[in-house]
């Protein structure tokens, strides 16, 4: 007997399996929602995994206060469309209460501050599994990350103490106070994600597609102009046809000059530019810990 399943359908099936496993093995799981395509994909897969029932986990969004307005609008539509529960943790609250101190200066951002709010929300919500959209192809260090990643009672990851994962068997046992980070889309690459989103016609924030926007140029990267951005006197605002490759904090998410008007154009663009998602910010002083990276650090 012969049966062919496409790689996208196999990845979909694997992720649905993981999502259901989380629902079965944990008491209070939560989906970490960042607003980007990976977390949108995760939500979309969760809807499929439990249909026609509702997704049995809430979303948690850590709001830096510097989001693209489009991100928040899209988030709220998504929540409404699928009848999801949304919790938001505000970095601004942590700043106001003196738990964290806002960075100063031109390259300041609130990325590092998110970690506090995230851990605080996880603790308050008594969540025992937090699902993230991390993928193993993102960078070398993530290549060894597990689907079920064990954290001790301080939320720390001990690379030496991770559990081997074989076959379809995932060990989510833990002691009181410990929790897990789970990565249902571990095996997807950037290209897989885009291909799947195109194949399934998944709605996405229009930030990912080419649009005209006010930008400035800093260290070779285009940044979206906004009220949150501290500009140097010599930095001029001009209009450009751009799109986001990752969606994050407005103050430090680079935008790219691009004419990609559809997801299929994006796929073409990725195939031809041959740059990793995290690349292209080589002259950025903080490129080693670019927006998405730091988010991952905090989130994951």
């Amino acid at each position: 007997m012969d049966y062919n399943i496409s790689h996208l359908k196999e990845l979909e099936s694997e992720s649905i399996f993981i999502l259901r496993e989380v629902a079965a093995q944990f008491e209070k799981p939560v989906i970490l929602f960042s607003g980007g395509k990976d977390s949108i994909l995760m939500v979309y897969l969760a809807v499929k995994a439990f249909a026609p029932a509702r997704v049995p986990f809430p979303l948690l969004h850590v709001d830096t206060g510097h989001n693209f307005p489009e991100t928040l609008k899209f988030r709220d539509l998504l929540v409404e469309k699928y009848g999801l529960k949304l919790n938001v943790g505000y970095v601004q609250d942590a700043i106001d209460n003196g738990h964290v101190v806002e960075e100063q200066g031109f390259n300041s951002s609130r990325n590092g501050l998110q970690i506090y709010t995230l851990l605080d929300e996880l603790e308050k919500g008594k969540y025992d599994a937090a699902m993230g959209g991390g993928r193993r192809d993102e960078e070398k260090a993530r290549a060894k990350e597990r689907f079920f990643s064990h954290r001790d009672e301080f939320g720390q990851w001990d690379p030496k103490n991770q559990r081997p994962e074989l076959w379809n068997l995932f060990n989510g046992r833990k002691n009181f106070g410990e929790h897990f980070r789970v990565f249902p889309i571990s095996n997807w690459t950037e290209l897989d994600v885009w291909q799947y989103l195109a194949m399934e016609n998944v709605p996405l924030p229009n930030l990912y597609l080419s649009h005209e926007r006010d930008v400035i140029k800093r260290d070779g990267t285009l940044l979206a102009d906004s009220e949150y951005l501290d500009k140097k006197p010599e930095e001029e605002v001009f209009k450009a046809q751009v799109r986001c490759r990752t969606i994050g904090d407005m103050t430090c998410t680079g935008v790219w000059e691009s004419d990609a008007a559809t997801v299929e154009d994006i796929i073409q663009e990725i195939a031809t530019t041959r740059m990793t998602e995290r690349g292209g910010r080589t002259d950025d002083k903080r490129s080693e810990t670019s927006m998405e990276d730091r988010k991952k650090e905090g989130y994951f």
């Binding site: 259901r20 496993e21 193993r136 074989l166 041959r274």
Partner: protein, 423 residues
């Protein structure tokens, strides 16, 4: 236009790589990524820069998988690292396991989901103890296809006699193994001969290049499509007005083909009923195959829960509380305890078990059965008998890798301490 549609047809192939230190594993993986144009420009630039900084010539492809190697050199615990690339035909997932002698456990982990195992041999050294170990693991883990890459052919002048000699050595020893499909390819990972591009220096070799093999090897029959096995993973109950009485049994097909209208047997209750509906990720479907994740609805109002299994009435798995397994021990801190109690996971079942008997320890370099020294330490393999608190529904691992596999968990530390294949 439109790559998407082409990709919709491409399949997923998972493979592991095994070889002793310095056989050229990192170079080979780098070569595959590079020649298949899976490296991005920025990665390539970085590679070049690092190579130059180290005072080496050209571009050292082995550096692409450097993360693992640095760790190895520092003697830190190493794991399986996963890497990804694709060609228009297939997407590949490499489970890259370090070649160090101690890392049986990593190799077993990587092998558990692999369709293909690549075993590297340095043409100058021929079959060595580690080659045998790797082949034995591939056989125990029932990796459907094994490719023996005889590497560094450039260092033996692409000599056919040397190649034949090594193939001979390997085949002699492989007769003792349970590997269904073995291939041999003469390559030079460094220069690129027969990896992605065909070499003009091995005109005596008529087989495919490694990449051609990986793109074309027949993997759609690697699953068991005969014996219907559907472990219930999660029960879907919407509890809404619209779906008032809806009860869906969600899971991933572990074997056979489920069909709408089929009569099925439910385990452990023994009731029979009919499949009324199969819901897939895109809505209703008439059939479900491994490895699809679906939701199954049945005719009668029966109370199934996680850990139960849907099968066909005339094709049952083994049902019982005594299972015999080949165990690979993972735990660094404690050896396997005779009479020890562990938590056990099998498909979607969670039970406890006691180690009733250790039959023998298996020397995985020689397949010799050790009966004297029965201490089972990390990376050792042993055949053991387990007694479980509840009946399991198992198949021999040879027949089905999903219903034939278990893991053991230490109830004190919650670590995964062993993986087992049902005999």
């Amino acid at each position: 236009m439109s790559e998407v549609y082409k990709y919709e047809e491409s399949e997923l192939l998972r493979f592991t790589t095994a070889g002793s230190v310095d056989d050229g594993k990192s170079t080979l993986i780098g070569r595959m990524l590079y020649d298949s144009k899976s490296i991005f420009q920025d990665q390539y630039d970085q590679l070049k820069e690092t190579t130059e900084r180290r005072g080496e010539e050209g571009v050292n492809l082995a550096l692409l998988t450097d993360g693992l190697k640095a760790e190895r050199e520092q003697g830190i615990t190493i794991d399986v690292a996963y890497r990804y690339f694709s060609t228009p035909k297939r997407k590949f997932i490499i489970a890259d396991t370090p070649g160090h002698i101690q890392y049986t456990r990593n190799m077993v982990t990587g092998a558990s989901t692999a369709n293909v195992a690549l075993i590297l041999i340095d043409a100058r050294n021929g079959v060595v103890e580690q080659t045998r170990r790797h082949a034995i693991i591939a056989s125990l883990l029932q990796i459907p296809h094994v490719v023996v890459c005889i590497n560094k052919m450039d260092l033996v002048d692409y000599d056919q006699t040397r190649y034949d000699e090594i193939q001979d050595q390997f085949e002699k020893f492989a007769t003792k193994l349970d590997v269904k499909d073995i291939h041999f390819i003469p390559i030079s990972a460094l220069i690129g001969d027969n990896v992605v591009n065909r070499s003009d220096k091995t005109s005596w070799y008529e087989g495919p290049t490694l990449m051609y093999f990986l793109e074309n090897v027949h993997i759609s029959s690697d699953h068991n499509f005969i014996d219907v096995r559907f472990p219930v993973q999660f029960v879907i109950r919407p509890n809404t007005d619209e779906h008032h009485d809806y009860r869906g049994y969600a899971g991933r097909v572990a074997g056979g083909v489920l069909k709408k209208g089929d009569e099925v047997l439910l385990l452990p209750t023994g009731f029979t009923t009919k499949i009324t509906k199969i819901m897939g990720p895109d809505g209703e479907q008439n059939e479900a195959h491994p490895p699809e994740s679906v939701t199954v609805l049945v005719e009668d109002k029966l109370d199934l829960s996680r850990g139960d299994m849907i099968v066909r009435p005339n094709n049952k798995p083994d049902i019982g509380q005594d299972i015999e397994v080949m165990l690979c021990w993972f735990d660094n801190n404690k050896p396997l305890q005779a009479n020890g109690k562990y938590a056990l996971k099998h498909t979607s079942q969670d039970v406890r078990c006691v180690v009733k008997e250790i039959r023998y320890k298996l020397d995985i370099n020689t397949l010799h059965r050790e009966l004297e020294d029965m201490t089972i330490n990390m990376n050792d393999m042993a055949r053991v008998v387990l007694r479980t608190t509840k009946p399991l529904f198992t198949d021999a691992y040879r027949k089905n890798r999903i219903t034939g596999s278990i893991i053991l968990i230490d109830e004190g530390t919650n670590s995964t301490v062993a993986a087992g294949m049902v005999i």
